[in-house]
């Protein structure tokens, strides 16, 4: 699906890089720990998180994420928005909690790591 579908399904407010909503998203991951994110995400993925920290954006840059979605109504601080703009990383926020956000996207056809063909081989020790 496209990033704009993610925003629509989650009724999310897009905070940066609105010009990148036509990017393709192939899989998603929900996590509140930085190292989990580094272990179980790749490029062409989005991360749903309740962790509001600039380190989420730093880690997103390391793994070439498509976008970061902040859940349960959490709003990123100005330094996070500034860093995301600088890196050209789309971020958005939704009022849905993590579990429901993941469920909505999964039901709409966005797989997680274990169901994503590109992750096969790397998925043996997935959570």
């Amino acid at each position: 699906m496209q990033l704009r579908d993610v925003a629509r399904i989650l009724e999310a407010e897009v905070l940066t890089c609105e010009d990148k909503l036509d990017l393709t998203v192939e899989a998603g991951c929900g996590c509140d720990l930085i190292s989990d994110m580094l272990a179980f995400t790749k490029e062409r993925m989005i991360v749903l998180t309740g962790l509001v920290s600039p380190q989420i954006i730093r880690a997103a840059e390391m793994v070439d994420l498509v976008a970061v979605v902040f859940v349960r109504g959490k709003r990123p601080t100005p330094d996070i928005i500034e860093l995301s703009n600088e890196l050209g990383l789309p971020i958005m926020c939704t009022h849905y909690p993590l579990y429901e956000s993941a469920g909505l996207l999964f039901t709409a056809g966005l797989p997680g790591w274990r169901h994503w063909p590109r992750a096969v081989g790397g998925a043996k020790d997935a959570p």
């Binding site: 720990l33 930085i34 190292s35 272990a39 380190q55 730093r58 840059e61 390391m62």
Partner: protein, 142 residues
């Protein structure tokens, strides 16, 4: 090519900046995205280990024709049981650090996962040295 950055313990504002510069430089000089991603993740985990656990240190890379060597050296408390620290889920990060999203117990396991070789040496009360190697893809793409 050689890159080296100083890292200051508990400086969470600058944290991750060294790994970001390393990854960007690799992409700029034409290193493939997958290798740059792996080097970036290993350098990031190494940098965050210094920020979280040590007083100060350095993170750097040497780019050679066939591989990238990553190193991280710190002055800090050291690791008393490296085998235990390599176990997934084991962490000594204090509570205030965990609240920032760290302390998953995946720092060293992630470094091992994304590198082709990893060596960790540590002296309690002195510091820790990490050496990682990531091989560049061959021209055949294997």
């Amino acid at each position: 090519m050689h890159l080296e950055y100083h890292v200051v313990g508990r400086d969470f504002q600058a944290a991750g900046g060294a790994a970001a510069k390393i990854k960007r430089t690799l992409r700029q000089i034409g290193i493939d995205a997958e290798t740059a991603r792996r080097v970036g993740i290993v350098a990031y985990e190494a940098e965050m280990n210094i920020v979280i656990h040590a007083y100060r240190g350095t993170v750097g890379i040497d780019i050679l024709p066939e591989r990238v060597n990553i190193y991280a050296d710190d002055e800090g408390p050291g690791i008393s049981d490296i085998a235990l620290a390599m176990q997934v889920g084991y962490s000594t990060a204090p509570e205030d650090i965990r609240e920032m999203g760290f302390g998953a117990g995946l720092g060293l396991p992630n470094m091992k996962r994304y590198s082709d070789e990893l060596e960790v040496e540590s002296q309690v009360g002195s510091g820790t040295s990490i050496r990682a190697v990531i091989n560049l893809p061959t021209k055949e793409g294997s």
